[in-house]
Assembly symmetry: D2
Homo-oligomer: 375 residues x 4
């Protein structure tokens, strides 16, 4: 198979993470098709050139439209602000490229659906940057659930909190504007939680929700007054999964002290598993087996027995980091292209995940239960 | 002031706890009116006599009606199964006794209201056994909230989970029967969480909820078949407090591994406080103060600076236990009688707490938002 | 059996704890001989009278010598400063009383030996207040070790730290004076650690040690200058147990943030157990059994399956507190008297424990390995 | 500056880590001289070729001697078994190459000294793979100590434990042979702890130690019998630092459940800092400042304010992993070469670290205090 050319749009947090991931995937995983960093896009052009040098891309551009049609590009990585995903992804797909897009797919569910449908029609491979579901600790938890280790699943609770909007004195930014950011905490954070709930329990059927803008206005950066915060700081939902399990999901971007608290607990008839991304190399599990005087939550440190941890490090407890998750993600896309199967999570899955956050917002606005099949 | 005579009904978990609490209150607290253990009631009579000897009561009886009218009894402690609280409390109040009743007040909100009204009319002092809100860690958290240490409160989340009904093979008991137990997890556990939310954030105004009977039937102990579980194993609610704060409450009696996980987090504009009763001598607090590179959750171990811890032990970190909370509770009742003020939480407060759990059950049944003022 | 009369000397931290323990032992444990609080001694007399009223003693005195010879006293509890233990215990034993003495037995090993020998000769029952070895979590750990749950023991490490002498600005007190306090951190704290090592691994055969006075002088409280600190703030030892196990013990009274960190880990050929008194209701255990991908440290919350926890509370995870440990200790003494067997730990055991701390001090002074059989 | 050619010997755990580190250093750090992966050495040749393809090296060889003299190689990375470090490093230095060598430098202190002296004489830059001291959490702790945040340092305790030799049934390997492995737990693990103690407190002046071979023999893999374990499974030392601080160091390779427990606590006159590599993105700090009722250990999650974390990820709490530490380490070497200053830790520092583990072994053998200046 020929080496796959990578075209990356964006050089921020996720842009760097994509560049690193493609750069390291084969060295770490071995069994991965070759890829090479073809062209990097950012604006202005000199920034693109500088970052291309740093990241190791052969070319730089400030014109994403040329990137997505560049014949040397096989995979387009989209790591730009959320408003731009739609146009870029559609253009890339129409140019026949495989697409690796950061979450959420788009600002609206309609756009997300169109992205999904366009990709389906084109037959390209897609991948959406849900990061955390690639964590060996998470996939181990999924395997435990599927193997019946904790019995039948009966309940799920999840939270995803950060504090980047906790400070009332922070200036107003585009994040607070519906037309630029779309959803607030739900779009930034909530969809990650949904992706984990989906992996552990399955699809959500209906829900009822509430949400709140904690800081109704914020000061303008230029000191000329205050502007409205148009989207939610917190949201919570009571959910019913298709398999009958009940549960709850909560998110806040104003939760002081939480830096990446993407946490959940899944209750089964024989045990419970708990996880917190802030200790991403650990899993807590309780099983009702053996002498009850010895029962308790066991803290598992991930290691080579939780693949693909061992590809990074043969020694347990030595820890993976956030960027390693992107390597696993990029690897999955590269292999999906090589082996001609769907990647996980692709635009189809991401659409399902994101349907839930839009349903939460709708229920919170209307005060009524929302069935996801009605969206 | 003359020594107050204690009449205790029940010799189980809470019966012993009440006996110990009255026995130790003065020795520990010093500034407490004298009391003495007058009469203990249980059935059959020989069990009552045996436990009276063990607990140190002067007399024993198998007739609670004689106890509540015994002229040597000033305080009636009711620690019997929940169905019996109503009759006993009403009778004791009508006999002019102060009443120390375990939670929940009654099976139905109507009964609870009648208990409250009867006590109000009689002018006796009442106390309800909410235990955990007497924990020095909890009252310290309340003081921190009230002093503005974490700014304005913006969100609240709480959970209260145990696993005593987690095992599907456990036989059916009265706990599963509406007419005997009333609510399930909400009555056993949920009301504790409400009492904590109330202390930290205040009264709840409205809510929307969902609940589930995880194990729909259970085997009859006599092996003759299975019977229905009539009340909820889990319940969750999205709540709005009177002061505008949003939050969520969840409870499960089928949560493997949780032994007394009465936990919450209260989010403020300047910080967050977290607590878990399974580590009842600890409090977690994050404040957005000082150098951000040093910020994090601080684990406070309770000590003499968190009164009344120092009455139990002058050394920090040496730990209080569950029974110590009942000493603080009994002390509050004894002092309220001496000083002629309302105890906390009395039947008025307990009625408010319990209104919430009935509102959760109603909302879960109807699928609609419930305003607590409508109950 | 007639009710045993308790004579208690001292009304501080431990005095109150003894009074509470005797007051609650039968109510909690049931199967305990009757006892009654006969006479309380403190100075001045009016303080003794006041505390006797608070604690529930029938009589008060400021003359400990009359207490130890009082014919209505069967058990003498000694909770005074360490310098006084020797005279009081010897007098009580010679008066034929059973003795419940706080640790350490005495300032010097010679005195401790004489106390032991006198008690042996008199045939009275003795108990020494080592508190922490009565914790159900600890005794469960000992049972696990003895049952081979973690295989053969191969290593032990322990620490006992507090911060009551961490602040350099604290004024000089009697604690800093050899003739009043004897050993420093070793006497206050270190002997507790030894008592736990003994229970888990057995007697220590030899050791080599180092120690340090961190704060060489302290300001006099009256502002007239500074005085020398004559005993150790920290001490550490490398120990060899009689059974060949190696290990280490460390203590500090100047360890900021540690409130009661009496912690250890015991390494076996099949697993490890860890404990920290600051979370006294928890035990950590790792066993090399089952699927290695599921292995990790399990956090056991104590409950009724860890006797005598269930006597205090039938519900797991509800937590015992420090004072509860003294109830277990007092119960052991009362039963030993009734059943005419040695209590644990009695003066014999305490002498063995305390030999180790004196050996540590001697090795640290001389820089040489000390064999305990040479002391 | 021309791009620096990397010659890497070894393709195991550390070989891969070096390859990844050089591959990612510039992309992550930006301000790093260019480097390229020139030649990879392993045996047999086809394995070298295969891994060169996977890791992205231009050439492969099975002859390390040709690698160290290859004119296109500027930096020689040595990640082979410890017995081979000496010959390879000496040859590389003599060929004028900069050397990045894994720890420990050599099996004996004499060899380590010769390596150091040879590097000094040649004026090449060296770096030794001590990994953990590059952790932003660790360097933050060092800055806190140096800034006086916890006052004067008064005590240090450290442990480094794993369980790769805990199972008695594991077959005998070269690790158990003095002539192949040199020291046991001290060489594998203990030197890491020393490197941390050095950074936090400074050089050790003298010590007294004990050590033990827990599993005296192990079964031969071929089933023909058992062979002796010639080096230590555990070692412990009481140390005195040059600045008068006392402390202790312990290590075990037979500590069940410990996967990478490189942990320490440093005690100061104003506070304490604690760390555990198994939670490598966290730091615990207690400061005696502010209201004592609010004091406790604060858990800091590393983030952009703990450089160079922000180079990996702009969001706090997202976690670095083990391999990221090697990127920081490789960056330090590349910059040292560019800027012509010594890297940290170079052969000089490593020699100092490793002197301590040899001193521990000597003291344990002789039973006497060892002054490091005598080695």
């Amino acid at each position: 198979m020929k080496s796959l050319g990578i075209g990356l749009i964006g050089t921020g947090f996720m842009g760097k993470a994509h560049a690193l991931a493609f750069g390291a995937a084969k060295a770490i995983m071995g069994d991965v098709p070759d890829s090479h960093l073809t062209v990097l896009c950012d604006t202005p052009a000199d920034k693109a050139a500088q970052m291309a040098d740093q990241f190791g891309f052969a070319h730089a551009t400030d014109d994403w439209k040329s990137l997505v049609t560049n014949p040397d590009v096989d995979i387009v990585s989209i790591t730009t602000p959320n408003t731009l995903h739609f146009d870029m992804a559609i253009a890339a797909i129409k140019a026949g490229k495989h697409v690796y897009c950061e979450k959420p797919l788009a600002l609206t569910l309609d756009q997300a659906r169109e992205m999904r449908d366009t990709a389906r029609a084109a037959g390209v491979k897609t991948m959406v940057g849900y990061n955390y579901i690639k964590n060996p600790a998470f996939t181990h938890a999924c395997r435990l659930v599927q193997s019946g280790e904790i019995g039948d699943i009966v309940h799920f609770r999840g939270w995803v909190d950060e504090d980047y909007q906790a400070d009332p004195s922070l200036p107003w930014t585009w994040r607070a504007k519906l037309s630029d950011a779309g959803l607030g905490a739900l779009g930034d954070l909530g969809c990650h939680l949904v992706s984990m709930a989906y992996g552990l329990v399955g699809p959500i059927e209906s829900l009822i929700a509430d949400m709140q803008t904690v800081h109704a206005t914020r000061p303008l950066a230029d000191g000329t007054g205050r502007a409205n915060v148009e989207n939610e700081d917190t949201a919570s939902a009571l959910v019913r999964f298709a398999n009958g399990v009940q549960g709850s999901l909560s998110t806040s971007r104003s939760a002081w002290g939480r830096k990446n608290r993407l946490a959940w607990e899944v209750h089964g008839t024989k045990g419970m598993i708990c996880f917190d991304q802030e200790r991403m190399n650990e899993l807590q599990i309780y099983c009702n087996t053996g002498d009850t005087s010895q029962q308790g939550f066991t803290t598992i440190l991930t290691g080579p027995e939780h693949p693909p941890y061992g590809q990074f490090c043969p020694a347990p407890g030595h820890q993976l980091g956030f960027n390693d998750l992107k390597v696993i993600e990029a690897t999955a896309l590269l292999r999906a292209i090589r082996d001609n199967h769907a990647a996980y999570p692709d635009f189809d899955h991401a659409y399902e995940f994101e349907k839930t956050i839009h349903a939460i917002a709708q229920s919170a606005r209307d005060g009524l239960r929302v069935s996801l099949s009605d969206l």
